[in-house]
């Protein structure tokens, strides 16, 4: 009986039902889509990066991952291969032989990692061959070589041409050979595109004189979430001699950026969930609130309170289930559709190059467990939102409920004066807002919360990227680098800047230039008594450098370079480990000087630095500017001038000024976006992602507002009927509804911005510590794990304005509906 009544109530008020169901459905659909989108993005990042070359798991001799030398070659790989193939979770395994070599063509050469693979086996584990963009993939029976696109570019080589490899063989002898380039691959992952050369396994074994040897066995698992158990199983079955590493260890940068992405997007998702909950709760709350009178009558005729509550709950469940069905259908449908078709991020921003491992297309993922969680949350929200006002109504005395609780007492006395100056419809709108305080509170609260969430999410994003850009440019590059055209490609010492003193004075006079420091940079070979490593040698002028970068603050042992310390060198911790040198010991640096001669100098290690980046720590060494100038025979010339700006936001304008001042043929100014392209791509990529989130956000909030306005209009149908009977023109009624929305939304915006900005400011000072989520991950330079949200007017104001405009626009529809009401029907409306 009760259920039948609930049904009939749901069917009776079609509009209310439609509003409630659509709110639930749209909220759920948006959330489903967004979660699927984010999951798809994260999954793709992992799949793409691991499937190109790393595989899911690799097996090496212990210690190989930290120090990949031929000394750690597995002499007989057959037994190991049998062991790993025996594991039921392993789908495929590929034996590899890897080593370092120097690749040359003409006068150009590059250090490369040569990897030998058995093409047929390899194709079962990775998809590198599918990334070939020029020439063809590798065949087992030939001596051809595949190069990464950036490597091929640097060597100026194309498919069909030949290159020379020189290296050190397993037995210590010099290895060399001449190989034709079969093809060029593009993975968009710098570590592969810039350094990897792939040949057949036999050719590499022959090159390194290690017949039957292998340095790694790469595995693909049937299910990649099985990494931990597979590792444990193989580690015990293979024993102490071997290390079994999962992709997060093999690709720490990918692991941390995936992790980071998960954390950041979950923060956003959580905010979004609350907004959706508010969007679902609002109309349900209002729909029940509207019926206080009806409940009073039911109580008056003897319905028990429990029964009334059960009725409301049953109605909410019916509406909720309808909403869930529609929302899941819409959300899963959309997600599945885009999961197949893909979302082309490139369409949102021209020239967007994606992050490592991400192609321009994102394929959202449908997951049953997520849909279940979301459905449960949404249904629970709807039920609570319905029960709250029902409990209140049931607690009323029936008479009170019948008369309606929305009685304005307080403001009654001051009515007279107001109607004179204000247009009467503004007055009515304003009074309506005051009359039904609870409705006003619900509407304003809901919209204000959305604005607040906007402000916070964007403050979070902005703060995060701002901090990351700021930190990253502090490591090395500064905000702008002045150099000779082409210098960055090879760090060729002869491409130096003349008369640096004069240049510096001029640059420093530009407004918004906070500091400028001269530098010398070159590729060099650093050797200790036992080992040699290729490095980038950087000569710095210690004092000015301190106001451009914080190199001096990364010192963990010894001290930073001081002016005049021309016989000292500061090296990274990883590099110190590889060279096996300690503080106070000597390092010999060799480099090709500007005059073409080989420059050599010995320095004493006076400091060791550590950053969050292993690339920095293993490849960079600092000496003083004069020391580097004399090593490279530069005289007074420098390689670059690095500039730090007072206000990074004014980069464009300052670049103009700088260009005018430093205008000389062959000189170029590179902004940080060019110096740190990966960072720039990451920022821009996330901007696109946040725009997508914003769009979905706006859609949900706008429909919620429209539904709420609809509710507010429906509740006052009779009043509109009377207004019409009195001869009120339809336009005036439309305006009244819109005025009300404007007043409510202005209040909501003020409230939302106020609280949002206060929150962002608070957390901007305190910082939001996410580092707990990054424990056990290697770090990206500039990523500290502590986010300081920041209010940037350019990004926080537009969403609020858009929301305000959107809400006024969406209120036009219910307003038009109100104006088009049939007055007779409206007056008859119960």
């Amino acid at each position: 009986m009760l259920l039948g009544l609930a049904w009939r109530n749901v069917l009776r008020n079609r509009r209310r039902t439609a509003i409630t169901v659509s709110s639930i459905a749209i909220g759920l659909a948006a959330m489903t889509f967004l979660w699927g989108f984010i999951d798809g993005m994260n999954r793709q990042m992992i799949v793409n990066t691991t499937r190109f070359f790393a595989g899911d798991v690799q097996v090496h001799l212990k210690g190989y991952h930290d120090d990949p030398t031929l000394d750690l070659t597995i002499p007989e790989s057959g037994a190991v291969l049998r062991a790993v193939r025996g594991d039921p979770a392993v789908a495929a395994a590929s034996v590899r032989m890897e080593g370092k070599a120097l690749a040359s063509r003409g006068d150009k050469s590059r250090g490369v990692v040569v990897a030998g693979v058995a093409p047929q086996e390899e194709a079962k584990v990775t998809v590198l061959f599918e990334a070939v963009v020029e020439g063809g993939p590798l065949r087992a029976d030939e001596t051809g070589i595949l190069l990464g696109e950036k490597l091929a570019e640097a060597l100026g080589i194309h498919a069909g041409e030949e290159l020379v490899l020189v290296g050190q063989a397993y037995d210590g002898s010099v290895a060399s050979g001449r190989y034709p380039v079969r093809g060029v691959f593009r993975t968009k992952i710098d570590e592969l595109d810039g350094y990897l050369a792939v040949m057949s396994l036999d050719a590499v074994r022959e090159f390194f004189a290690a017949p039957g040897g292998a340095t790694a066995i790469a595995l693909r698992l049937r299910d990649r979430s099985e990494i931990a158990p597979v590792r444990a199983r193989l580690a015990t079955s293979m024993g102490e001699r071997y290390e079994v590493l999962g992709w997060p260890t093999l690709l720490p940068m990918v692991a941390v950026s995936v992790r980071f992405h998960e954390v950041v997007t979950y923060v956003v998702l959580l905010m979004f969930l609350v907004v959706v909950a508010a969007a679902v709760a609002n109309p349900v709350l209002m729909a029940v609130l509207e019926r206080t009178r009806e409940f009073g009558i039911m109580l008056a005729v003897g319905t028990s309170r429990g029964r009334l509550l059960r009725l409301v709950l049953q109605e909410a469940v019916l509406l909720g289930l309808a909403g869930l069905a529609a929302g899941n259908a819409l959300g899963l449908g959309l997600t599945a559709y885009f999961g197949r078709a893909g979302i082309d991020l490139g369409a949102f921003e021209a020239g967007l190059r994606t992050m490592p491992g991400l192609s321009d297309f994102i394929y959202p993922v449908v997951r049953a467990d997520r849909s279940l969680i979301l459905s449960a949350i949404v249904l629970a929200t709807a039920c609570i939102a319905a029960l709250y006002p029902a409990v209140n109504a049931a607690r009323l005395e029936p008479v009170e409920a019948i008369r309606g609780r929305a009685r304005a007492r307080a403001s009654a006395g001051h009515g007279a004066a107001a109607s004179t100056r204000w247009p009467v419809f503004v007055l009515i709108a304003a009074r309506n807002i005051l009359r039904n305080r609870r409705r006003t509170a619900i509407m304003v609260g809901g919209a204000a919360f959305s604005v607040l969430a906007f402000v916070f999410v964007f403050g979070f994003f902005d703060g995060f990227f701002d901090g990351m850009v700021e930190n990253s440019t502090r490591y090395l590059t500064g905000h702008v680098q002045l150099e000779r055209a082409g210098f960055r490609k090879d760090l060729a010492p002869e491409l130096a800047l003349d008369k640096p003193a004069e240049l510096l004075t001029r640059l420093r006079s530009v407004p918004n230039v906070a500091a400028a420091a001269p530098r010398v940079q070159a590729q060099a070979l650093a050797s200790s008594a036992t080992k040699s490593e290729g490095i980038v040698l950087i000569g710095i002028d210690p004092l000015p450098e301190r106001s451009v970068t914080f190199i001096h603050r990364t010192i963990v042992q010894g001290k930073a370079l001081d002016p005049g310390a021309d016989r000292e060198i500061v090296i990274g911790r990883k590099l110190a480990e590889r060279l096996r040198v300690r503080l106070g010991e000597k390092v010999v640096v060799m480099a090709q000087a500007a005059d073409g001669e080989l420059g050599t100098a010995a320095y004493r290690v006076s400091g060791i630095f550590a950053t969050e980046s292993s690339t920095f720590d293993s490849a960079i060494a600092y000496v003083t500017l004069p020391a580097a100038q004399s090593l490279l025979a530069l005289g007074a010339r420098v390689s670059t001038v690095n500039i730090r700006l007072g206000d990074r936001a004014a980069l464009e304008r300052t670049m103009e000024d700088l260009r005018r001042l430093a205008a000389a043929p062959g000189l170029v100014l590179a902004p940080w976006q060019e110096l740190l392209p990966q960072l720039d791509e990451m920022v821009r990529f996330n901007r696109v992602v946040s725009d997508i989130i914003l769009a979905v956000f706006l859609l949900v909030v706008a429909t919620a507002i429209m539904n709420t306005v609809f509710m507010a209009v429906a509740e006052r149908t009779r009043e509109f009927g009377v207004l019409m009977a009195l001869g009120t023109p339809p336009g005036a009624i439309r305006r009244m509804v819109v005025y009300e929305t404007i007043v409510l939304m202005t209040l909501a915006s003020l409230l939302g911005y106020g609280i949002g900005i206060a929150l962002v400011e608070y957390f901007g000072r305190q910082g939001i510590d996410l580092s707990g989520f990054f424990q056990g991950y290697a770090a990206i330079p500039g990523l500290t794990g502590i986010v300081y949200p920041k209010v940037l007017v350019a990004t926080t104001i537009p969403p609020g304005v858009a929301l305000l405009i959107a809400s006024v626009l969406v209120s036009l529809y219910p307003a038009a509906k109100a104006a088009r009401l049939d007055p007779v029907a409206a007056i008859r409306h119960a």
Binding site: R409, A416, S419, R431, E719, V722, I827
Partner: protein, 233 residues
């Protein structure tokens, strides 16, 4: 009687409501003339079409057939906003219940129509206050509808209906929710307005007391006029 004294004229007016596939004939071929100064009641059993007829006269509802003239202008084919304008200038409605704009005070409710008509504030104030006083509502000017009794609300509604000096006032069962004393007082008031100011009234009622005091009684049955009698005073 000359034609210029005809305030409202109906010619073969019909109103059919469609409910699903069923047609409800609320009015069937009503022809009627309301003259200036009429004090007429529509009576008839429930469902006979009284409310529908008032709505059609006042331009709140449109007939499905027939023609209507209000003050010599045909209203049958007017647009919605033209009809609204017509109601504003020429018609005064009083409904059985829920009559007033809840957020406006009694005084503001009375002023509302004049305000829409663009009557200057000072004049509005004077006229509304005089009317409220005349209707025995002095002291209640600044109360909201929810703070007035049913009879008081109804009197405010009458004040609002006549404040803008419409050519005809159309109360729909104005006394139905009032006790006989309040109902009688309201009727006295309307009668006085009719006699002293010449305001034309057509109202529907079930109340025998109202019928007794009317000067013209139109009997409806099943959407048709059964009888139309004038009673000399």
């Amino acid at each position: 009687m000359s034609a210029d004294k005809v305030v409202v004229r109906l010619e073969q007016v019909a109103r059919v409501y469609r409910q699903n596939s069923l047609a409800v004939h609320a009015l069937r071929g009503i022809s009627l003339e309301i003259r200036k100064g009429d004090f007429a009641v529509l009576v008839g059993p429930s469902g006979s079409g009284k409310t529908t007829l008032l709505n059609v006269i006042g331009g709140l509802d449109t007939p499905t057939a027939g023609r209507i003239w209000v003050a010599g202008t045909e209203t049958g084919r007017m647009s919605k906003s033209k009809l609204a304008e017509m109601r504003l200038r020429k018609i005064g409605f009083v409904f059985q219940e829920f009559n007033l704009i809840p957020v406006l005070s009694a005084l503001e409710n009375v002023e509302f129509v004049m305000l829409l008509q663009g009557i200057p504030e000072a004049e509005r104030r004077v006229r509304s206050n005089a009317l409220l006083k005349e209707l025995g509502l002095q002291g209640l000017e600044h109360r909201r509808p929810s703070e007035l009794s049913g009879g008081q609300q109804q009197r405010v509604a009458v004040a609002r209906a006549i404040a803008a000096e419409p050519i005809i006032v159309l109360p729909d069962e104005p006394t139905a929710n009032l006790d006989s004393k309040a109902g009688g007082a309201l009727l006295d008031l309307m009668r006085r307005l009719n006699e002293q100011k010449g305001v034309t009234f057509v109202f529907s009622t079930h109340d025998p007391m109202v019928v007794e005091r009317a000067r013209r009684v139109v009997r409806l049955k099943d959407g048709e006029i059964e009888a139309d009698e004038r009673r000399p005073e």
